[in-house]
Subunit: 366 residues, 2 copies
């Protein structure tokens, strides 16, 4: 059995982490099923209140006795003026009109301090509820937070997009690091390097990172099956984190319209946009991305734009209208299937085994 450092540390049987997709996708059932199948289920707690996180942790513990983890968004400071918020809001007027939504002009933009306070409360929930694994996106928590978590023996996983960011994670004390290739769907995890610089494909990214850090590296982006798993291991990763592949599973809480969009998409139909949230993210092209493309660089930073578009996204979900929903997806939608987590996990591991056997036969006399 494969039993590398990452697997030992996480106490998992298969080197597969379910990506902590935020926004209701990682239902307790999804997380528990992944852990029950020998992988690592992860709660995407980025948009949860501390109370919601606590409830879900308790719920998952009823569904699995295997380890699972939780992901928190590290708050980033943002700079917005009321004027900028107002003009960003006005740019959404045409879309609201199409959806017969009332125009709003006043927004309750939260202060960074409040967001940071909520982050600390979530950290406390993780500690109090004895979650053994915690990963972070959008940066590295402050030293004192890292120290507190380490004192409670919580395994810490960082997210990075370049060698520089991977090294920063290692230096800050992360036990392992998820490397997000340019193939990955959803929000980009770059926090030191710019968006364009951070777009490195996994074939290039993994070997260059492995050569420059000592902690285990986890590959993320476009990995959907046993082929991607084995390729990642040969590049030097100790495991994979998969998002899109779990998103279309029966147990995932993703909207059916979102699942259908992925199941019907081709590899060249995703694009990057920051129009939904103020952070760059990869999703399937739709009307919202097209309509907003000219304002793309003008929208206010995350999480402000995310708040401004919230009602639009919610209304569309209710109407099963994919035009203005965020249809996050990696670059391998042709490989997505509608199936159970158990089936997906079994297929990945048996495909990996078969391919290894076949190639070993071909290569024995190499």
């Amino acid at each position: 059995m494969l039993n590398n450092e990452m697997m030992k540390h996480l106490k998992i049987k298969n080197p597969i982490i379910q990506a902590p997709m935020a926004g209701g996708i990682t239902t307790s059932n999804l997380v528990a099923e992944v852990s029950n199948a020998g992988g690592l289920g992860m709660i995407g707690a980025g948009y949860q209140t501390p109370i919601q996180s606590r409830e879900q942790i308790r719920e998952i513990k009823q569904l699995t006795s295997n380890p699972f983890g939780i992901n928190l968004f590290v708050p980033n400071e943002f700079n917005v003026t009321p004027d900028a918020v107002q003009s960003a809001n006005q740019r959404l007027h045409t879309i609201r009109k199409q959806l017969h939504l009332e125009q709003t002009d006043s927004f309750d933009i939260p202060e960074y301090e409040k967001i940071y306070g909520s982050f600390i409360e979530q950290v406390n929930v993780v500690i109090e509820e004895n979650v053994s694994i915690c990963s972070f996106t959008f940066g590295i928590p402050p030293k004192e937070v890292m120290a507190e978590l380490k004192q409670h023996n919580i395994t810490l996983i960082g997210t990075a997009t370049t060698v520089r960011e991977a090294v920063a994670n290692e230096k800050a004390g992360m036990d392992m690091v998820v490397m997000q290739g340019s193939e990955a769907g959803g929000h980009r995890g770059n926090f030191i390097d710019g968006h364009q610089e951070s777009l490195v494909g996994l074939m290039s990214l993994i070997p260059q990172v492995v050569d420059n850090v000592s902690i285990p590296v986890i590959a993320a982006g476009g990995i959907m099956d046993g082929r991607g798993l084995m390729a990642s291991l040969f590049l030097g990763a100790q495991g994979v984190q998969m998002g899109t592949a779990f998103l279309t599973c029966i147990e995932s809480g993703a909207h059916k319209v979102h699942k259908e969009a992925i199941l019907n998409a081709d590899e060249d139909q995703t694009t990057f946009t920051r129009a939904f949230s103020g952070k760059w993210a990869r999703g399937i092209k739709n009307k919202f991305i097209a309509d907003m493309s000219e304002h793309e660089l003008l929208v206010p930073d995350f999480p402000v734009q995310n708040l401004l578009t919230q009602e639009i996204r919610k209304t569309c979900s209710g109407q099963n209208n994919q035009d203005f929903m965020s249809l996050w997806s990696g670059q391998s939608p042709r490989l997505a299937k509608s199936q159970t987590v158990e089936r997906l996990m079994n297929d990945i591991m048996s495909e990996a085994k078969i391919n290894l056997h076949l190639l070993t036969q071909q290569l024995t006399a190499l």
Copy 2:
């Protein structure tokens, strides 16, 4: 020994193709050494005259008795007005001034028909000189050209960037297809899909293409060593095509400044530009790319812009000045080494063998 369909067809011992980099990089020595080491050396004949191609083919035959190949650019029609050429030229005035070059206002823009005629002459050279393998970039030759080459039993290799383009290559009768991932350095080979759509990372691209074509698939982009080779094979490719890794070899004809730039670069220092040639290409960021970024979308199509910048690039080469040279590179420059082709080839194959052995041991009881 690995002996898949691609290797049998190409009559090579190791599943490694040296990318046909145009512009003097693929010296006869480089091509012959790759073939002598059991890979497939390739002449990058994109900018050669038919006479030059014929001479190089004859020269290489003196240096190796193993198979080698040649790559031709499929001519694309372009649309430029004299006015557009003049304003594109004026945008280069500041740069010419810095290099103390005389300002030119008249350019001999070749007609498409003339370029196409030269392409047909090159095809005839390939046939007359009995080159057994011919690959194509920037499109698929017309039916009659494909038929003529096939009649002479020449193995035909297409280049594609998406599933749609791979299928088009198969339908046109290509024997195999090189899939260029977004990691790849130099010119993009997209010819049906747009530039942005064509940027799919290899981790996503290879499995999705393999599922949709029957001809052998060759992975290209960011592959530098045994790790990349094994990853590509597990994704479903039958071999790899490597550019940057061969570019910094002793035998390559790349300018020493170009080699040094790659050897000193990080994974996040390349970018896409169309300012050098009128076609999108990935290279290391320099002054020219930065200075031209605002005119990027305005420059005339390939090969017109390539002609306009020719003297600037040539002058900079003569002065060992990297500011205005095209420093093409894939996304893995940290893995580049200055070494002989023989050493590179040996290292790739032994690393592949060792990694397979190690992972097989770890995975036996999977």
